[in-house]
């Protein structure tokens, strides 16, 4: 399986891929997210096959007994090959990663729907591809596991807070032209479990953040990638913020400030600012791995630094994704995802 092949897998009907991973390509026949559509749980934990793309995206900042920081990622992408909604017309892609200060382990799995090899169900919630699984109660206890040729993780998650709707009650606008997705999160997951590293098992604790998002054309066709932050501050507050970059050098930002009790406050374009402070050479490209992030409305002016600058996801669709630490006006940790570099 080569990268091009998967790109085709993800873009079955795109004659000319545009933007990152073709997410800026209009496709007829699929449902479009609409503002004001109420989210219903647990049904919306399951797949929405009438939309073209969807993901279950969990990241966790963990630490070992001696305080050594780790990060893990567990992601299941669904891409419709046709707008029929039929299981056979879905392609599934799983990405898992385990990041330490010095290592970044990545694995990828692909599957066609309709066989049971991969899928997701709402109630009881479970999402899986091959032996990688994420299942349980997103407002209670759940487990998540994945492995690669030389590493593995098995984690137990416990919800410590409510689900958080991003944007306008789950309607998350992605460009001036109105491209949008349905987007909610569970950022209040505490974690205990075991990482299996080539050097041995490490018991870990920490916190995880789940993002659920589905859409049919989330990006405008001129948008080529994004810088996406999920930060948990020591105060208990959290920030989800992204900057979508267009090919003319302009960008579109959006942010949600989440109070410790889960109350979200959305911020529109421009309120949040992210500026690269330093770059690293990663996979033959220059990638900003230190950022200055500001949200003046909440007094945020902090520096976000990658735990391991080489957290490159060398998957079919490559991108950067890894744990970060926050210093400055607020202290904390989180995850950073950068695409389109």
């Amino acid at each position: 399986m080569n990268a091009k092949a998967v790109l085709f897998a993800l873009l079955p009907l795109a004659a000319h891929a545009q933007g990152f991973a073709g997410l800026g390509t209009a496709v007829d026949g699929y449902a479009i997210p609409e503002a004001g559509t109420p989210l219903v749980f647990p049904q919306d934990h399951g797949p929405h096959p009438l939309f073209r793309i969807e993901w279950w995206y969990l990241t966790a900042n963990l630490s070992g007994p001696d305080g050594t920081p780790y990060g893990i990622q567990w992601t299941l992408f669904r891409t419709a090959l046709a707008p029929s909604g039929a299981p056979e017309d879905q392609a599934w892609m799983g990405h898992a990663a385990l990041t330490t200060r010095t290592d970044h382990f990545v694995a990828e799995r692909l599957a066609l729907g309709g066989t049971g090899q991969a899928g997701a169900e709402a109630d009881p919630f479970r999402a899986w591809i091959d032996e990688w699984s994420f299942e349980g109660d997103l407002l209670g206890a759940s487990t998540i596991a994945a492995q690669g040729p030389a590493w593995a993780y098995d984690l137990a998650l416990t919800a410590q807070g409510p689900l958080v709707l991003q944007g306008d009650r789950g309607f998350s606008v992605k460009s001036e032209d109105g491209q949008a997705s349905t987007y909610y999160s569970q950022p209040f997951l505490s974690v205990t479990g075991t990482l299996t590293l080539p050097t041995g098992d490490v018991p870990v604790t920490g916190q995880a953040w789940l993002d659920r998002e589905w859409s049919s054309q989330p990006l405008a066709d001129r948008q080529t990638g994004w810088d996406w932050f999920s930060l948990s501050f020591d105060t208990g507050a959290k920030l989800m913020a992204f900057r979508l970059n267009a090919d003319d050098g302009t960008s579109f930002t959006s942010a949600t400030w989440i109070e410790p009790d889960g109350t979200p406050t959305p911020f529109g374009n421009g309120a949040f600012q992210a500026t690269p402070l330093a770059t690293s050479e990663v996979a033959d490209r220059s990638i900003p791995t230190t950022w200055r992030v500001t949200l003046p409305a909440r007094g945020l002016d902090a520096t976000v630094t990658a735990l391991n600058p080489q957290a490159w996801m060398a998957t079919s669709v490559p991108y950067w994704e890894g744990p970060v630490t926050v210093t400055g006006s607020h202290r904390g940790q989180g995850y950073l995802e950068m695409t389109g570099y």
Partner: protein
Amino acid sequence: MRALLAHWRRHPLQLLTLVLGLALATALWSGVQAINGEARASYDAAAQAVGEGTLDALLPPEGRRVTTAEWVALRRAGWLASPIIEGRLDGTRVLGLDPLTAPQGLGPLAVAEDADLSAFLSPEGALAGRADVLAALPPTVAAARIEAPGAPPGTVVTDLRTAARLLGVSGYDRLVLLPDQPLRRPPLADVAPSLRLQTPGEAADPGALTASFRLNLTAFGLLSFAVGLFIVHGAVGLAFEQRRPAIRTLRALGVPLGTLMLWLVLELTVLAVLAGALGLLGGYLVAAALLPDVAGTLRGLYGADVAGTLAFRPLWALSGLAMALGGTALAAASALRRLATTPLLQAGTRRSGAAYAVRRACRQALAGAALLLLALLIGLAGGGLIGGFATLGALMIGGALLLPLLLDRVLSLGARLSRRALPRFAWADARAELPGLSLALMALLLAMAANVGVSTMVASFRATFTGFLDQRLAAELYVDGVSEADLAPLLPEGARILPIARAPRTLAGLPGQVLTLRDDPTYRENWRFLQSVPGAWDRLAAGEGTLVNEQLFRRARLSLGAPLEVAPGLTLPVLGVYGDYGNPLAEAILPEALFSRSFAQPPEGFGLRVAPAEAAALAARLQAAFPASQVIDQAGLKALSLSIFERTFAVTGALNVLTLAVAGFALLMSLLTLADTRLPQLAPVWALGTRRRTLGRLELIRATGLALLTALAALPLGLALAWVLLAVVNVEAFGWRIPLLLFPLDWLRLLALALLAALLAALWPALRLSRTPPAVLLKVFSDER
């Protein structure tokens, strides 16, 4: 340099000999190599497409396919496996893989680089294959066609869904295991208890099987090249001999020997490159003409798909040119050495040459005898396929080296037995000419011996094979696609049904199959065992043992009575061994009751024993009753089998004829080049009163006589060759032994061919001689130095 080149202007025929000889040799060699290269590339492509030979596979139990549930259970447990569906659609291999889980570099997207996954996953589906394969697909196949030059030959690659739909199957033929498995997996036995792990070594590897066939071809190529080298050696030697005066003059004029040698080497190099290029062109044409036959052979014999078209490979061209240059160097080395070492003023007299030649013949004979001894030793010691070919090589070269001395002895005997002057002269003259002709005659010997050997092998094979077909295809009709229950009511009184069922199974570690056999007089009457225990049929019917084919018997080194695990948990002694020609698989036979207990394999067809007179009517009735089934009569099946056989050996036949043609050409060239130098010998004979016409006739008789002697010598050599081919090489290569049968009529035909070739080769020089103007003959005396 101009002085040296002038030689070729004066002797265009020699130039032609040199270039043509080298070109022919290169053509045959490179032609065979091109075929081999294509075949090898084809297996590699075929094996790569399914990961054969590199990846572990999981196979279903006999009689069923891997289910989706089994596969998904493996994936969910952490085993990275990917399904494969394989089948044939009107002769085209259809290969279905999962584009998303197939190992790196496998699958439809790996074959069709520019293709879009959605094309394969669309409801219509898509097939990727070479243009000729796609064109050969039945038009009724509903799927998009994607041209993919990188696809394996004879194969279309597609996704699982399309493959399942086109082939009408569900489930998978096997699962391949990806090389990089994740960290933690439960044991296979826990997840998929009924699937069997097959490591790459266990799989039937068409590459390994066909290696022997390709080795056969390579041997043929080398033989052709050797024959060509004889030509070149002769031509170069003659040219140097004739240019000796010119070289002497040049050296006397002060040209240093080194410079002279350099020019000669340069000249030969240019000629070799020229001839090599010509030869490559010829080789390409030979290969292109023969490749479809070779492809047919490999498909028929081993089930390996080989592309019927030729691709140009630069490495191949380089190796061909290298052979041409190396061959020229080899052929010219001794001539150059003699040139460098002979004293400046020594004349190249014929007598000194003749004396040298006799000494050389003795030395050659000695070497030849040693080689024959070596052949005998290697042959006795065994040593597998390589040993077999070593025996062949030593035998052929040894025989060839013995020839000059043998002929010399025969001729001197003839001369002693003759009383009258003219015959005595003729014998002695022939003997004197022997050194000049001996290379051409050795080439003829090799070609003849190869011809005798290979045709004896093929004819023995054919006779054995037809006998075998008569044994095996005893039933009057064969029908498939029906059940016994449906069939029975339609059969006339007294008809007997012989079910045909086979279950794939690894036997003694070899890829193979188990067959069922209903106890029926048909088998007892028709089958002949190669070896068997007493009462083998009765004991088989009683379920006390199994029968195995010769391939299994030999490869697994079984003996009569040896235990063999025929089915899971069923180990039986070997009761008998039957010949099974043309089958690459190991095979064992179980009586019907035991077979159906061990394998849930329904019969794929039935043989029907009916009165021969009723067969045609019954066939029509069956075809009408079961339109979907295939009814084949015995004669049709035999004809089909024989046609596969004939195609198998078409290549050897063609190569045979080519080699003989090259040898004939060598003889012609030798005679022509000798003709000019013979005038000083013939002029006195003419002056003594022998008519030119008589001299011409003597020339003819001499040439055909020598050819006859050579052919006679070739006969035992050829038979020895046939024996090695049948008893050593074939057993190793194919796994069966064929009795050596003699076909004297074939020899007569060959003999006639050889004589005809010699006659044709001698005709022109003889005609020229008989028409030589007396003035030219007279001039010989005035020119005498």
